[in-house]
């Protein structure tokens, strides 16, 4: 947990303060200095791209955007998914049936089609990406949470709370939800990398973040085009992406242990 958390923190801090440390910005093109390989000359640590923009600063920007999209999308799916799933699971009966059929219906929508539809209907918008990813991820979360809630509902401490006269809302949020924490945390750390991948995929297709803004996915996309002459343009953002994904996965395992109070002596 310490190591993966440390790596993520380092990446995050670097992404925030990194661009200020560099003399370059993410916008300025320099046609005299295109496709420079990584190194200290000209202070282009990660080299430059085919428009002569500094790749270090652009990578940092990409990290910011990617993490932002991922974390916000996961929080959206967390809040909606847990509330929806816990209510459906605890209340049960007809309410549960209606709520879950709605989820099934949303599942049936083809995701990419859905995103393209959004892009066409509205302006290409940063916010839309959050909405699109969040709107897909909360479905899984709701199903998982509902399943867990169904089994928690039968536990005796819930019966005890009902006998005490604890309100249904309080049972859901004070008795059920805390006991979902372990599985939810694990699932969130799985959704974050998933959201990152989806964002990268959208950007790769040209549906995501638009130039001159960038994300790790968009950088990888740009890198693929220059793969033969300037391999660093692909390798560096791809390596950063892999590092972040791996760190989240390890963090997930560690967080599950951490949130399990039963393991603290």
């Amino acid at each position: 947990m310490k190591r993966s958390g440390g790596i993520l923190l380092f990446v995050l801090v670097l992404a925030i303060i990194g661009p200020w440390l560099s003399p370059h910005d993410y916008l300025s093109t320099n046609f005299d200095d295109m496709l420079r390989s990584p190194g200290l000359s000209g202070l282009h640590l990660f080299g430059t791209d085919d428009l002569g923009r500094d790749l270090f600063v652009r990578t940092m920007l990409g990290i910011r955007v990617t993490l932002l999209v991922a974390v916000v999308a996961s929080l959206v799916s967390l809040v909606i998914g847990v509330t929806y799933g816990a209510v459906a699971g605890y209340v049960g009966g007809r309410v549960d049936a209606v709520m879950m059929r709605f989820v099934d219906t949303l599942y049936a929508l083809p995701f990419i089609f859905f995103v393209i539809l959004l892009m066409v209907a509205f302006e290409r918008n940063f916010l839309l990406i959050f909405v699109a990813i969040g709107a897909i991820n909360w479905l899984d979360m709701a199903r998982i949470v509902r399943g867990q809630t169904l089994s928690l509902r039968e536990r005796e401490f819930v019966s005890a709370a009902r006998l005490m006269g604890v309100s249904t809302a309080r049972i859901i949020f004070r008795h059920i939800t805390p006991n979902l924490l372990g599985i939810v945390v694990v699932y969130v750390t799985l959704t974050i990398p998933q959201a990152i991948l989806v964002e990268s995929f959208l950007s790769f297709l040209g549906l995501g973040v638009q130039e001159p803004q960038t994300s790790l996915g968009a950088l990888v996309d740009a890198g693929v085009n220059q793969m033969e002459g300037a391999s660093w343009m692909l390798l560096i953002p791809a390596a950063v992406l892999a590092l972040i994904l791996m760190s989240f996965n390890f963090l997930g395992d560690a967080m599950r242990d951490f949130f399990d109070v039963r393991q603290t002596p």
């Binding site: 019966s159 005890a160 709370a161 006998l163 005490m164 604890v166 008795h175 006991n179 109070v261 039963r262």
Partner: protein
């Protein structure tokens, strides 16, 4: 030379010794009982004999079986002993049997693995073994999956699998703890009968089981062997303090004081209560059928019966946790209706429940302070956090815990402490009626007495009425004023404790009393008084539902349903209650 010689056996996890320099022997053909409370190292000792402990367990000392060292030997070496020389039966057969394999196949595998028999030979041997352990229709059971069998039948299959290679030593680890008393008696009889000249190491927490069935006794406490000797001698003159405490805490159903009936007005009346569910196959299951009961002020009413008798369903319906399909409940002159959420706050606070397993009844993510204080938060919403905390502390002190537990989580408490917390939570609103659903069944005997004292004290102080559900008649005898006996959702006998224990009127009551193990080696165990197991309540037997298992049954019993009738000091539902003699 003894069959099994254990010398200075120590089992450690890290620096924590769960078995500490234990030495004992088991001779050929001898039956030895290991008793102790939970966590005393009984099971760890048994598992270490066959190398079944997890990898991080460090074992030192020596275990010699028939002269050969077993400790820390390789799997291949141990395989020669497992099943063939030493058989083992675990507490929970459902977990010890593979749910995906048919019974016959699992047993046949043992024979094939040890190259004892193959092909049709093996099948024949398995069928023969299933027949010996009393499985009806072994040819059919050969093809059954474990979940298709009842708990008692599964334990019989476990015994068959342990004995199929005819080992020299059988280790039985709490073989009957998960079973009803009547089935427990059958299984213990079966073990006795099949044992012949095989040595038996019987591990249990119940002194009543070892008393009549083991020649020697080993008493464990906190990983140490604190007393060893002939069973009769240990019971007659225990030398160790811990053994003395265990013996003092052992309750018996066959003798001892009973409480005189409480003479007070009725606080809770149940008329014609009927509860049914749909089971997983969507068949209607009659859990409770037309039960009439009343509870008086400051009285403890025990409800006893095997699992499946509808005790828990009845009280859950009274409390409004599950719906009742018929009948009514009257509390303090007012009807108690509908699910608990819709009942008046005053009615809700007056009826509280204590569960069997305190650990699952407490929210694992909450601290003791929040758990015990929550009822106040709900019912006394104007109370300040300060005074709530004061009340919680006072309540904890009443149940014998101090302030230092406020910040604890349930998993940090022992079973007894957790049950105190659960009782504190139930009593903090000063209810009029407390329902205890097997509240002491999962608790060690020494702590059990303290919990029972706690209940008696609460009753004495505030006139609390208690419904005490239990399968253990020894505990019931020590706490209840009146007893209601249920079988398959119906009341079969209701009587004051003094009448019921002196002269049971219903054959089922008598059977429960006889099956209750007596912690006294001088009282010979009665042969299992009942055959078979409680039938499914999806299709209950005709007439008197007890007649298929009743030795006194006549034609009328299968034809007409007996009503509860007043006979002597009891209400009994038996056609032949007057004729049959159940004294002795």
């Amino acid at each position: 030379m003894s069959l099994l010689e254990v010398n200075d056996l120590t089992v450690q996890y890290g620096n924590n010794a769960v078995v500490d320099t234990v030495s004992f022997t088991v001779d050929r053909g001898e039956s030895v009982g290991i008793v102790g409370e939970s966590g005393s190292g009984k099971t760890q000792t048994a598992l270490s004999l066959l190398g079944l402990l997890p990898r991080n367990a460090k074992m030192t000392g020596s275990v010699r079986f028939d002269g050969e060292e077993l400790l820390n030997r390789g799997e291949n070496h141990l395989d020669g002993f497992r099943a063939q020389r030493i058989g083992i039966i675990f507490q929970s057969p459902m977990q010890a049997l593979n749910p995906y394999l048919r019974i016959g196949k699992q047993l046949r595998q043992i024979l094939l693995q040890h190259k004892i028999a193959t092909g049709n030979d093996a099948d024949a041997k398995v069928n023969q073994m299933l027949d010996r352990v009393g499985l009806p229709d072994p040819e059919r059971q050969f093809l059954a999956f474990p979940h298709e069998l009842s708990g008692g039948m599964r334990q019989r299959v476990m015994i068959a699998s342990a004995l199929i290679c005819a080992p020299d030593l059988l280790i039985a680890d709490e073989p009957t703890t998960a079973l009803d008393v009547t089935v427990q008696a059958q299984i213990l009889d079966l073990l006795e009968e099949l044992r012949d000249d095989m040595a038996l190491l019987l591990i249990t927490h119940d002194l009543g089981i070892v008393a009549g069935r083991c020649e020697r006794l080993l008493v464990f406490q906190a990983g140490k062997l604190v007393e060893a000797g002939a069973t009769v001698a240990v019971f007659a003159s225990p030398r160790n303090e811990h053994t003395k405490r265990l013996l003092a805490a052992a309750l018996r159903a066959d003798r001892g004081e009973v409480l005189a009936p409480a003479d007070a007005k009725t606080v809770l009346g149940v008329e014609g209560a009927t509860v049914s569910y749909r089971d997983s196959h969507n068949a209607r299951l009659q859990a409770v059928v037309g039960v009439d009961l009343s509870l008086r002020e400051a009285e403890t009413l025990a409800i006893v019966g095997e699992s499946g008798s509808g005790k828990s369903s009845l009280v859950r319906a009274i409390l409004g946790l599950i719906p009742m399909q018929g009948g009514r409940v009257v509390y303090a002159g007012e009807p108690l209706e509908g699910p608990v959420e819709l009942r008046a706050a005053a009615q809700r606070r007056d009826l509280q429940l204590v569960f069997q397993d305190p650990v699952s009844a407490l929210n694992p993510q909450m601290r003791v302070q929040t758990i015990v204080g929550e009822p106040l938060l709900v019912h006394e919403s104007t109370m300040t956090a300060e005074s709530r905390k004061d009340q919680v502390i006072t309540m904890l002190q009443k149940v014998g815990l101090d302030e230092s537990y406020l910040r604890s989580y349930p998993h940090q408490l022992s079973g007894g402490q957790a049950q105190r917390v659960a009782i504190a939570r139930a009593l903090i609103l000063k209810p009029k009626i407390l329902i205890c659903d097997e509240a002491v069944a999962a608790i060690d005997s020494a702590v059990r007495e303290q919990i029972l004292d706690l209940l008696r004290m609460a009753q004495h102080e505030s006139g609390l009425s208690i419904i005490f559900i239990s399968h253990d008649l020894a505990v019931v005898r020590s706490i209840s004023h009146r007893v209601a006996v249920m079988y398959l959702g119906r009341l079969v006998e209701v009587a004051n404790s003094e009448n019921l224990f002196a002269l049971p009127r219903h054959p089922y009551t008598k059977a429960l009393l006889d099956a209750s193990p007596v912690p006294d080696p001088l009282v010979a165990p009665v042969a299992a008084p009942l055959k078979g197991e409680i039938p499914s309540s999806v299709s209950p037997p005709s007439g008197c539902v007890f007649h298929p298992r009743c030795q006194y049954a006549e034609n009328i019993c299968s034809e007409r349903r007996p009503e509860l009738r007043q006979i002597g000091g009891a209400r009994v539902a038996c056609h032949r209650a007057e004729e049959i003699d159940l004294s002795s």
